[in-house]
């Protein structure tokens, strides 16, 4: 408590995030001996410092790597990441992809206010298209990054979207995320009234909350994915990894009525002196005399005429159908 009063503007959603996270941590009975808060840079990056926990305040965007390393070294600690959308999705986008792939047991609580607040209100990766900000005076030209779609591409995943306005749902999401084994991500739609809301035409934070209520609705039950206007939890455990395909050796049926050849006999037909060019493949003998590549020569690159070329196929750049088009003249004894 010694670091209060905090630095945030009146009406900011981060206060609600901080309070509810702290309440859930208390309900779960976690304390400074088994919990660490990690955060990045930005308004939301200051959250960890106000917790009665050991807190790490990392450089911009590197929060996930830091959290993962801490969890790797100290698996007994509960690692909570408190950060914002610009930090996690923009400058830390690469780390978001790779840390979620490695699936460490950390919980990420993303205060998603759709703006860079601390630097004065520039467009961020989650700013909706058309929003006027300091760096998009004619309206943001690009579509926002859809974190939900990005993170729910491959299981296992835990992705929840909630807002600071839907308090009960918000607390449920945080609790479930903290208890999830593996990488869990909660996208908390939050408001920035001073640097985003007023420019959008809202007078108070409460008007922004009402706007969240219009934009989003809560969906119940187990979900795999969330639509853009849905609040809820999408989760999936790990899929059974596809088994490596085993190569089944097929024994080709060789008709017995074909003329039998020994390897010595086959070697005789090497194309020299106007003789035919015969090769053996999987027990059958083919007449390659008409092949334009073998024509008039003893060999075609590394393939020798008059030999069993079954093993050559493994390193050949072509398939076996190239051999099948030639007439069968016998079988290998």
């Amino acid at each position: 408590m010694r670091r209060f009063p905090h630095t945030w503007c009146p009406g900011c959603g981060i206060g609600a995030v901080l309070k509810n996270v702290a309440m859930v941590i208390k309900e779960l009975g976690w304390n400074y001996q088994n919990t660490v808060a990690v955060s990045g840079i930005g308004c939301s990056g200051r959250m960890s410092g106000y917790m009665n926990l050991d807190a790490v305040h990392t450089p911009h965007g590197r929060v996930l790597t830091a959290a993962e390393a801490i969890k790797t070294v100290r698996p007994d600690l509960n690692v909570i990441v408190l950060s914002g959308d610009g930090d996690l999705a923009s400058i830390g986008g690469n780390h978001l992809l790779h840390t979620s792939r490695r699936n460490p047991d950390i919980t990420v609580l993303c205060n998603d206010n759709e703006i860079y607040g601390l630097t004065g209100g520039q467009a961020g990766p989650t700013t909706p298209k058309g929003t006027k900000t300091l760096t998009s005076p004619r309206g943001e030209p690009y579509l926002p990054l859809r974190l939900g779609r990005m993170l729910t591409l491959q299981p296992p995943y835990f992705y929840a979207r909630t807002t600071v306005y839907h308090l009960n749902h918000f607390k449920t999401c945080i609790r479930e995320a903290l208890l999830w084994k593996g990488f869990s991500f909660v996208d908390i739609i939050s408001d920035c009234i001073e640097l985003n809301g007023r420019r959008l035409g809202f007078k108070t934070a409460h008007q922004m909350f009402k706007w969240f209520d219009e934009r989003f609705h809560i969906v119940k039950g187990e979900r795999d994915h969330l639509q853009e206007n849905e609040l809820g939890i999408a989760k999936a455990v790990v899929e059974e990894a596809p088994k490596p395909i085993e190569k089944v050796e097929e024994k080709p049926e060789i008709p017995t009525d074909l003329k039998p050849f020994t390897l010595q006999e086959l070697h005789h037909f090497d194309g020299t002196g106007g003789k035919s060019i015969y090769i053996a493949y999987k027990g059958k003998v083919y007449d390659l005399s008409t092949s334009p590549l073998f024509q008039g020569e003893k060999r075609m690159r590394c393939h020798l005429a008059g030999k069993d070329l079954t093993k050559d196929m493994d390193i050949a750049p072509h398939g076996e159908d190239l051999v099948f088009k030639f007439p069968v003249v016998g079988r290998l004894k």
Binding site: Y32, G49, H57, T58, R62, A69, V73
Partner: protein, 348 residues
């Protein structure tokens, strides 16, 4: 028992001897072997954690975070990767995380000449990150010294509470020598920092007071903090004033060389005096001043265009002559002829 091992291997074994239990890295020549060794070692020893990160930024941040979490951590890279690590290096100095960064230098800037050796990242260790900070850096010149100085780097890191840099070059990383590592007896400083999960501290890259409270508008607190850090680093650096001085009678010329160049010019020790700094930073100002006094000519032979020479000039307030071995050209004959060239204009 004597073994034939490379510089990279000696660095890794030194780290293990010093008690390292975390390695994060990203493949880059010429230090990929350290990454591979760490991966192999972590398979056999579960308490040793290993991360092949998505980039050097993550590797460096992982190293410092692991250090805060309570592990002796290190990472290894080369010039281009070291450039990416600068952000984390600055952060490590502010949060006071003891860890070791190995930088095996190759020709730069950018991708440069992979993988030709160079000694051109000296300014990067001191001035690569934003703001003022006082790193400690060592530079071995043999495989055995790679081992020893890795342990020393870990010790200095624990004492100074900061990332310590171990320099090497592409030659040294891939240099194979017979060494007996078991017989090397070396003191190891235990872990000095309380790990995470034992208080209500804030480890922040923002300026802060002793309690970890963020203070961004008080110059007094910032100054007090910076002087304390500088003082601590100087004190630790004083404990390791490592250099090698080979005086030669009748010589009026002093060659200053370090790392692999010192091995090359060592065959001239009958003609010139040779001074080899082992602690590269903080610069050995006192020692340099003392040694250089009795020489008329000072020639710095190094693998960059006068990076160390500029520090020497600052330290001794005199002009020095330079033999820059650029582009991976460390041929003895060429260096010898360049030294002769330097001395030709003088009346020696």
């Amino acid at each position: 028992m004597k073994q034939l091992i490379s510089g990279n291997e000696a660095i890794f074994r030194g780290a293990v001897r010093a008690g390292a239990s975390y390695f994060a890295g990203y493949p880059i020549s010429p230090t990929s072997e350290i990454l591979q060794q760490a991966a192999l070692y972590s398979e056999e020893n579960r308490e040793f954690r290993f991360l092949q990160a998505e980039d050097e930024i993550a590797a460096a941040i992982g190293t410092i975070s692991a250090s805060l979490a309570g592990a002796k951590a290190f990472t290894a890279t080369s010039g281009p990767g070291f450039s990416l690590m600068q952000e984390a290096l600055g952060w490590g100095h502010v949060v006071e995380a003891p860890c070791v960064f190995v930088n095996s230098m190759r020709v730069g800037p950018s991708t440069g000449m992979p993988t030709q050796p160079a000694q051109s990242d000296l300014l990067q260790i001191k001035a690569g990150s934003a703001g003022d900070y006082y790193p400690i850096a060592f530079y071995p010149n043999s495989v055995e010294e790679c081992f020893r100085l890795t342990v020393t780097a870990f010790n200095a890191a624990e004492e100074s509470l900061s990332p310590v840099i171990l320099l090497a070059d592409a030659f040294l990383s891939h240099l194979y020598e017979l060494v007996d590592l078991e017989s090397i007896d070396i003191n190891i400083v235990p872990r000095s920092k309380e790990p995470l999960g034992s208080g209500q501290r804030l480890f922040t890259g923002t300026a802060h007071d002793k309690m970890g409270n963020v203070k961004t508008n008080d110059p007094e607190i910032y100054r007090a903090w910076l002087w304390e850090v500088k003082d601590r680093h100087d004190r630790v650096a004083e404990k390791y004033p490592s250099f090698e001085y080979l005086p030669c009678k009748n010589s009026e010329t002093l060659l200053i060389a370090f790392g692999i160049t010192s091995r090359i010019v060592s065959s001239l020790k009958d003609r010139f005096s040779i001074f080899r700094p082992i602690r590269i930073y903080p610069v050995l100002e006192k020692e340099l001043l003392e040694v250089t006094q009795s020489y008329r000519h000072i020639i710095v032979v190094e693998g960059s265009d006068g990076q160390y020479a500029s520090w020497v000039e600052c330290a001794i307030c005199r002009k020095v002559m330079k033999v820059p071995c650029l582009g991976g050209g460390f041929k003895f004959k060429w260096i010898q002829s360049q030294i002769e060239e330097c001395l030709k204009g003088t009346d020696r």
